[in-house]
Structure formats: C-alpha cells, structure tokens
Subunit: 415 residues, 2 copies
DNA sequence: CGTTTTTTGTCCGAGATGCAAACTAAATCT
DNA sequence: AGATTTAGTTTGCATCTCGGACAAAAAACG
C-alpha cells in the first residue's frame, strides 16, 4: 500500500494536468484550472515543470482570435516528438506494426500478411523483431528513440508478467514475449490481450470517449472480451484478462459447450464446412476467403449458411446478455473482421440479447458494431504505453471527450 | 475528480492507520509504523489526533510481558464506545436487528419472525422502525447514540440512492427505504443488497479475511451474488449490485431460462411440489418446513427429490463457473439457510463447476460452504457503516487477516 | 497616441503535511 | 545506581497547495 507523501500528491496532480491536456486538445492554463479544480498557482507550477521536461509545448499560433480582450491565452499541447511508441498486433494471418508519436498519431505502419498459426514463438518473435526494426526505420527513427513497445495478441495474457499464457495463434503456452522482445530490441516491451488494447483505444480515441464502462467483444478466429469498468481495464484476480471463449453455454448436464466452439469464425467455418465444399478451392488454407463465401451465401439467402451465422450470433448474444446483467455497461462494442459486418449474424445477436435481458436492463446497454480497422489496435498499444509514461499513480485512465475538437470546452469532465 | 491536497494526504494516511489498528487488533505505534510504512513521526501525530477524537484508546494492561527490555509499548485499539451502529436484515420470513459497537461486536440482537412477503413497504418500514427502537433501547442506548443504520435485503438495491429497485420480498419497486427510515429514526440510514453486506462481513470478520477477491453466493428464496474485486465491492456501472437470479442458463433459442427459476429455494419447491403433496400440512405457507422436508427426503434417497436438488445445484454451479472465468476469485463462498447444507445440492454444484471450467482455471477457486448465521449479515451492515465513519478517501477496504490474534505481526500486509 | 480595462499568468507568504535526526521516557540489565 | 535498550516525541527542514498581490499583454476608450 502506497504511503501518501507530498511527492505522491504532486504525481497525482501532474497526472491530472497531463490528462486534461491530452483529452481537451490544446488548452490554456486557465482552462486546465477549471478542468482540474486545481488552483492557478499549482497549474502554473506543474505546467512549468512539464514544459521544462518538454512533455508539452506552447502554441502561440494566433489561431482563432481570442474573443476577449485581455492577455491572450497560450495554448498548451502534448509534444508529439518527445516520445514514440510502437504498437504491434498479432492476428492469425497478419502482423501489424505501427509507430505512433506521443499524441497517439500514427507515423508509419506496416502490415505483414503472414500465417502465424503454424509458427513457433521464436519464429514469430523473429518476424516481429524484423517488422519493428523496419517500421521504425521507415518512420525515420531509431530504436533508441522509442519509449516503449506494446504487443497485442488474442488469448489469455498476463500483462504484468509479460507472458502469454495461452493463445489460439500459438502452439506453446506461457510464452514470455515481453522479456524476449525487450531483450531483442533493447526497449521496454509490454504485451496484453488484443481486445484490452482495443478497449483502451476506444476509451482514449474511439467510440467510447468519456464512457467509463463499456465492453468490447471481438469476433475473429477466436473470441475476445475487453472490459472497461470504472474507467479501468478489468482483469480477474489473477491479473489475466477474461477469455470469452471459455464462457459456457449450458450446464454440463445439458451438454455443456464452450462459446468459442460455436460463435467464433473458426467454429462457424467448421459448422459450415459441409455447405461450402468445393466452393473456393483450398478453403482450409484461406479461412478469410471461406468466411467471405459463407457470409455471401448467407446474405444471398442460403438457409444452411444463415443458420450457421444465426446460431453463432445467438450464442454470442446470450453471453453478452449475461455480461450486461453483471456490468451494466452503457455501451457494448462488437467488432471483428468478417461476421460482425453481416446482419445474418448481428440480427440474431441483438435478438438474443433482448430476449435474455431482464426487463430492468432492457435499455441500459446500447450495442454498436464497429467497422474493422487496424488503427484501433495499434492506437490501443500506444495508449497502453503512453499511460505508463505519464504514469497515473493510482491507476486512472482518462477518456478524451472531444479530441476531434467537436465541442469546445464545456463537457463537464472536471466534476 | 478529486484534487490532491495535503488534506487528502492526511486523510489517506489516517485511514491507513485506522485500518491497521482495526485489522491487527491492539497494536503499538511501532507496529503501525511497520504496517503502514509511514514514519514514526507521522504515526505519532496521527494517533495523537485519533486519541484526541476518542476514536482509539490506549491499553496499558501489562498483558503479556513485553519480551524486550526497553520502554514498553503502548497498545492502541479501537474505542468500542465511540460509535454504535444498527444492522438490519430483511428476509422473506424474518427481520433481524442488531446493535454493534465501533469494533463490530454485537451488543444486542433481535429476531422478528414475520412473513414479510405480503406486506407493503410501509408496513415493513413500520416493523423495522419498531425493531430498531426496541433493540437499541434493550441495548441500553438511545437512538441519538447511533452513528448509522444499515439495512440489507435481497434484490437489486441502489445503495447510493438509498432505494431498493426491486426485491423478491417487496411487491413495490423503487422503494426509498433509506430516506424513509432516516426520517423515521433521525439517523443516517443506508441500504444495500444483503449479499453485499455478507461479502463485506466475510472480508472484515469472516472467512475471506485478507482476500481481496472472492464471491459470495447466497441461496435462499432468491439468489444473491456479492463480489469483492480488488478489495472493493463490485457494482455494475449503474451502481446496482448484480442479480444472480437474472443470469440466463441457455440461449433464448434453446429455451432460455433464468437461474432464479431453477436454483432458488422457491424454484426447487415449485419443482418438488408434486412429490411433497400432503407431507407436512400447509406447505405453501411454511416454505422453510417444505424445504426441510424436501432435503430430508432427498438425503433419505428419494430419487425425485434428489433430482430436484441436483438440477438446482448443477445450474448454480454452471453459473458460478462462468463467474469464475471472469473474476478468477481464489475463493467462492456459498451460503444459504437450507439447501447449501445438503450434499444433494453441493455435490452436483461442485461437479458442474469442475466440468464447466477450462483446464487453466481448474485450481484457481476454492469453493467453500458457509454455515448459516445471522451474525454475518449484521456484521456486514456494521462494517458498511463503520467504513463510512473512518472514511477511506479513495475507497479502500481493508481485510483483517488475524483479528483473532492468530499470527502476531508478520503478515506482509504493508507492501 | 496614451490611458484604462480586462484577462492571463506568476510570485510571495501562509498553512499543512511528511520525514530524518536529535531528544526524552520508561523499562531491564549489570 | 548507572548503563543499555526500546518506544515515542519534539525539532528543523523540504515539499506541496492555495489565496492574494503583482506583472504582462492585449483590446477599448477618450
């Protein structure tokens, strides 16, 4: 338990200031005063220190003429160049690498279409190492310019230990990617579940800005679940991110059944295999094509294919409903590359959620589908690392209500 | 967001000191220094203030001769008399009231066997008011001596608002018991889900001392779920405690089914009704007797009755397994008045948990059955109120590893 | 153009806190 | 009785935040 000394106090307030600057774009010191409820004196002192450390920079650009007549405000913003971060996402058939600056903007990105599934952890680490080196140099940087690297991958990840306990894209268990890559690249490297990164990215930059509670459900080859609760990523008591694939659908006496065996792309393809025979050549080797074929057929009206997707959607909706009764999140974000784009999947999902929720929960959660984008993962990795950089002493994570400059300065985020 | 000033600092450290004293029985200042990692100076200042406020008292009793030879330590302990709290538990057939002191010890308690189910909220409030007045005066106190009252009842409770959203023992919804009783008794009154109180009590005084993560599942007329996560009571984003009865057992396409309709006492009795006909007279009016009969028959070997209990146990085990994959709690405490005492219920429950958990979770959770006791509820109510009294600024709740004086001073609680 | 007004940001002293070190208190050991 | 040892307190200093006075920089005014 951390003892509370003046230093901690300063750390907390400095974090609040940094967070306000990050969330509300360029802001003046007076605005920070209002946002943080700190005194002008304190804000002045802290911003002076931050300027000294080059973490923030002033912006004298006249920009929009200040409407008042007094001394003009000097706007402060994060200094993009003070730090750079690499985000990596491992998926079954692709490695994505991107370099972002201190603001989370992507400088350069790189996608390696590689079938990871069958490779050993060492080979994967080789590929990641190459990808990172390449991407960093393409961005005009050097490895030594990096403040950190964060790798996201599906499965059960113990972030604190830097170990991937188990993943659908790895044959091995307990793979210490964190230490391994840190040693290879000479840069602090963290790893986390890919969906956790997505959740963090939605919180900082995406659809869930300003929301302190929401779920992210990702449907790809495997099922991922990211939970933000009370503004924090939710992890189990063991520090592991929960695995939605392990959710059980029925009591063992009624047949049991893991959700991953029904609702993932892998499962859907297995179910649909008889109906897809001989369609697109070597399907097993190209699951993405097989998925596309399955969805296309379903949307064209093929009853068998529709049934497969509907069953998957319904099962997932059932699980989501149970999660909603637990967490009561105002928003549930469903993402994924293929299935989630089809109404044949989403409709049954929504219906199952509606049918499974008690009346009192009928309207608490909005379920939205997020279109696929590599950006979100990588930004999540960046956010995760940046969060470490301007460390939140007691683990706060701030939303970013209007990073796009949407609504000026009135969102009551300070209260 | 709370701004960090010296005052907050002091509040945090004062809480740590109070918590150390509560958790580790009578302790000396040096021990507090070790436990909290604060400097002797600070501990001295804070304890002086606490002594001044009479929140703690010194204990000069020579007791066990200090083994060293220097100046003897002055042991400090909570002052039991500085505050008194009333805890109330509402169950379908009984109201329990108790007065506790500042240490959580019960001074006087009172059980009113009343069938609450059919009464209006007003009548129940009348009964509670009478019970509290009676119990307080029997304890030799006056209402004005009370620091607070806490009422626990099954169902969905919004503690912050003092409102019971919905409860199996109330016909009405959105009953503002908190404000109502506060007005009637002139004392700050809070309400919470009964299982939350039980969870808090297990944490402070019971089987889960020192555990920061565990679940409490209570099986009575309805199903309750209390979650302690990261040392805090877990509530959904809306501030409501989760309701285990709303957990769904199957996807709607497979028939759906609420857990409460299968695994509660009410459900078991409904299922068993055909087999119990004409056994013990007016069964519907005495569900407790009916339950006893059901269990007795099951244990005697009646296949029908065994099946009913087994189904209930298995369904509940299934739900618990899904909760374990989410929260990974080291311990799950199952409590209840009747069913949980029978192996006909517990065995299928354990089997279902084991069968439903993925291999990696096989050993993370120990499932224990807690014997029934009114004490635990009432102590939970006390703990809830006391927690407000020596307020934790950022919402910490401390465990009490060895309140019974089991292991001296080495439990590394300070780290 | 010079002065006033207004708003922003900084400096100064007061108050509160925690910590290290010196100091006092109270017991045992010799 | 005096030395020794351990417990707790007092003193001096550094750090933090805050309120109020002050300096700065622009528009508004005469």
């Amino acid at each position: 338990m951390k003892t509370a000394d003046p230093e901690l106090m300063r750390a907390i307030n400095r974090f609040h200031v940094m967070d306000a600057i990050r969330r509300f774009g360029p802001v003046s010191r007076v605005e920070i005063t209002e946002l943080t409820a700190l005194s002008p004196t304190t804000v002045s002192a802290i911003t002076a220190a931050l300027l000294d450390d080059r973490l923030i920079v002033p912006e004298h650009v006249g920009a929009v003429r200040d409407l008042g007549r007094g001394r003009p405000r000097v706007m402060l913003r994060l200094n993009p160049e003070v730090a750079h971060v690499v985000g990596v996402k491992l998926a079954s058939d692709q490695i994505t690498v991107a370099v972002t600056d201190f603001c989370g903007d992507i400088l350069h990105s790189l996608a390696l279409p590689v079938r990871i599934d069958r490779q050993t952890a060492t080979v994967i680490a080789d590929l990641v190492e190459d990808g990172v080196r390449r991407c960093v140099s393409d961005a005009g940087l050097d490895l030594s310019d990096l403040s950190g690297i964060c790798v996201g991958l599906p499965g059960v990840v113990e972030r604190a230990a830097g170990v991937c306990r188990q993943s659908p894209i790895l044959q091995e268990r307990d793979v210490p990617f964190g230490a391994d890559l840190a040693a290879r690249l000479g840069t602090p490297t963290s790893i986390d579940s890919d969906v956790n990164l997505a959740a963090l990215a939605e919180h900082w930059f995406g659809q869930a800005r300003g929301l302190n509670d929401f779920l992210v459900v990702n449907v790809e080859r495997s099922l991922g679940l990211g939970i933000l609760h009370n503004g924090e990523l939710f992890r189990g008591a063991n520090g592991l991110s929960p695995d939605l694939g392990d959710f059980m659908l029925r009591a063992p006496g009624e047949g049991g059944g893991r959700l991953a065996d029904v609702a993932s792309e892998t499962a859907a393809l297995a179910d649909a295999e008889p109906f897809l025979k001989g369609i697109a050549g070597d399907l097993p080797a190209r699951p993405d094509r097989a998925m596309a074929a399955l969805i296309q057929r379903a949307e064209a009206g093929d009853a068998d294919c529709r049934r497969v997707l509907a069953k998957a959607g319904e099962s997932l909706g059932f699980a989501i409903a149970n999660l909603i009764t637990l967490f009561a999140p105002p928003k549930v974000i469903v993402s994924g590359r293929a299935m989630t784009a089809s109404d044949c999947f989403i409709h049954p999902l929504r219906a199952a959620v509606a049918a499974s929720l008690p009346a009192s929960f009928a309207d608490v959660s909005e379920i939205v589908v997020r279109e696929w984008s590599d950006r979100i993962w990588v930004q999540g990795a960046a956010a995760m690392t940046l969060r470490d950089l301007y460390g939140a002493p007691w683990g706060t994570t701030g939303p970013a209500p209007n990073a796009l400059g949407v609504g000026a300065t009135q969102t009551g985020g300070a209260a």
